[in-house]
Symmetry: C2
Subunit: 421 residues, 2 copies
């Protein structure tokens, strides 16, 4: 008998909701044992998982997927080892669930505080990288959430093989096997159901291209923790230590190009532009970074600089290209960042105490930095231990999202028989 | 020239977004001065506001609004005085904006923490009570947010008069007049625009009947802080102090009937049911509270108890009616609450340490209480100083929402020139 996609997703949702009730009160010990049982099962299933991945790779080549996509799809032995290590790392993270904070007495005599609890059911939608299957599942389990995983069709065999290992581990641990479910259909309608089952799913986390994320945000009936652009800035102030500025501007642009926390626009105060720009341009030239500058930048650096258009200030290049602008003062720098930026990560380089404080307060981005490279905007660097995504929204969670982003807080009231007067 | 409703809302949205940028970095002093200037302006405009309210009342009577609605609509001198006092109270609250927490060093040498920031623009949709106009505006201003207010058409003249006083106050303070905007059209399409202008509005707070809130949740493209049912429970455990249980069960039901934190179902452990139920039933009888019970309840209390149907366990009566169930043990009580309840507020009465801890951890509600009346679930009782609503969602904020619910946290990174290795 053919089950409709709507019925299938309904069943998946119901099972996830049911599993989440067990997970919510699972002890830290049980959750960690489950993570280690998954570790062991995955280790034993290595040959099967890598073989499944090879099928996806062959299909991908046959379907002429581009090389970047194929690279993300491939599970090398090194990547497999990193997946195993990731499980151990998550097992070692502090369990956020049950943490009680701010417990204080009120004049009525009741004592009021907050207790951290899981969100319930996470719906994860992602493309190509099969290791996300394991990362997302492990973070969900540790934070007491059930998870429904919908990977790309190009990674279906890999994801199914990883899911099988996860099931084997969950069986060992006594937690419900339906704590982690992988959608095993290539039918695109599955996503439409997943993002609208408000009764079964509490939050959607999409990871992939901008098109995917925009579509999901538009159509979801469930809150979405989403990450759009990373158009990051470094502003070199007139009172910058120029050695620090050189190191930071070079690192933020060239450490890695295709990442969301790379700098895409460099803003330089006019008082130091003539000294700083030639020095940093020489370093960029070694890395063949293409510069697109405002008029003043062109005046200082000459022919090596292409004229920047209005569009350049908005652009996340994800490539060895940098927009450069000479700025009259910090107010203009902040106005530029808040207008053209994507509210992801922006840094100032300055030794001035008052300007540094103002920049921190007034730049409306998920990470605001003083004298540090934008490349630090990352869950691991921030000490979250792991990262399920980076949020460019302000609601619920902003910036790198670790275990805490998959939790909520409920109020608890401890009394001795108090009644309301 | 006729402006379309779409253009009008677009203009309102743009103005709010622009105002929010000024508000985000306004000092605590400036914001408090604005609140007090609004206080003074409102005091001077008292005659005009009360006259406008009388027009709404006349129209309401002409349109045959029911008496409960007319009661909520009316601005008596006492309510007007409470509005003025509310402004003073909000001015005295601690400013949440700019608070830096969790600042700690990482192995890389950067110091990382979180800074509390406004959400940006709040869209508030509400019915009848004109004092909400002022409460919402004052909480938004104090938390550095711009706000767009859309009250019910029945309160339009009152809301316009209050808005006028707010504008006068804002003019005195130097903050943008567009920090607070009241939608001055009865056209229902305005709401449709307000809840979908993702570029201009960051959060929607609806307050009103369930129909209104469900419609807004369904159609909004912007995150909604919403409050649906309050189907609250008190569970009297076998190890309850029955004097405390009597006081709490009586207070939770009869202190006020039409409020979301009133108890709607009473669960009683079978070991104490024969002792407890007749005692509490005698107290309820004095207040003419109608009891609807399970079979065992009927056996113990006899003819005074109507048989409860499955529907009763789900119902928020908001009336002198109570569902009563005898329960075998705490596990069953928790299962009942998590199944039939609305995840609002639920309490246990017990002297048992282990059961109390388990109840706190396992009941999935925005407020979970031990030995206290559910009536305490309230922003003022919790010490938030004020309340813009009560959230029954888990995302962003749960339970009573005060100033902090209108804020977010951004990451801040303090370095000495660190670059990513």
């Amino acid at each position: 008998m053919q089950q409709s996609i709507a019925e299938y997703m309904q069943t998946v949702g119901q099972q996830a909701r049911q599993a989440s009730q067990t997970l919510a009160s699972a002890s830290t010990k049980t959750k960690n044992q489950a993570l280690m049982a998954i570790h062991d099962a995955l280790e034993q299933q290595q040959a099967e998982v890598l073989a499944a991945n090879q099928i996806d790779m062959q299909n991908g080549r046959a379907n002429q997927l581009d090389s970047a996509l194929l690279d993300r799809l491939e599970l090398t032995p090194a990547r497999f080892a990193a997946m195993l290590q990731g499980l151990k790392d998550v097992a070692q993270l502090t369990d956020p669930i049950g943490e009680i904070t701010d417990l204080a007495y009120r004049p009525s005599g009741i004592q009021i505080g907050k207790m951290r609890v899981p969100l319930g059911v996470v719906g994860m939608i992602y493309e190509s990288r099969p290791n996300v299957t394991l990362e997302a599942a492990s973070l969900a389990l540790k934070s007491g959430n059930a998870i429904i995983l919908r990977g790309g069709s190009e990674a279906l065999q890999s994801n199914k093989a990883i899911a099988h290992a996860i099931q084997l581990g969950l069986q060992q641990s006594g937690l419900p096997e339906t704590s982690v479910q992988v959608i095993e259909t290539a039918d695109r309608a599955a996503v439409g159901h997943l993002i609208t089952m408000t009764e079964f799913v509490d939050v959607i986390v999409p990871r992939g291209g901008k098109g995917l994320i925009e579509r999901i945000s538009r159509e979801a009936r469930i809150p979405v923790i989403k990450h759009l652009d990373g158009n990051c800035h470094v502003y070199v102030d007139s009172q910058a230590d120029l050695d620090k500025a050189l190191a930071i501007a070079f690192n933020a642009k060239t450490h890695r190009y295709g990442v969301c926390n790379a700098m895409e626009s460099l803003l330089v105060h006019q008082a130091v532009a003539e000294q700083f720009l030639p020095a940093i341009a020489a370093k960029y030239a070694e890395k063949q970074v293409e510069l697109r500058g405002c008029e003043q930048t062109q005046k200082i650096l000459g022919q090596q600089v292409i004229a920047a258009t209005e569009e350049d200030w908005y652009t996340e290049y994800l490539a060895p290209i940098l927009a450069v602008k000479v700025i009259a003062n910090m107010d203009d720098a902040i106005a530029h960042i808040n207008k053209y930026g994507s509210h992801h990560t922006d840094a100032i380089v300055t030794e001035n105490y008052t300007l540094a404080r103002q920049f921190l307060a007034r730049v409306d981005s998920s990470s605001v930095m003083i004298n540090a490279s934008t490349r630090f905007a990352d869950g691991f660097e921030y000490g979250l231990g792991a990262e399920i995504g980076i949020s460019t929204d302000k609601i619920h969670t902003r910036g790198p999202v670790g275990l805490e982003g998959l939790t909520s807080q409920k109020w608890i009231v401890l009394g001795d028989g108090q009644i309301r007067q």
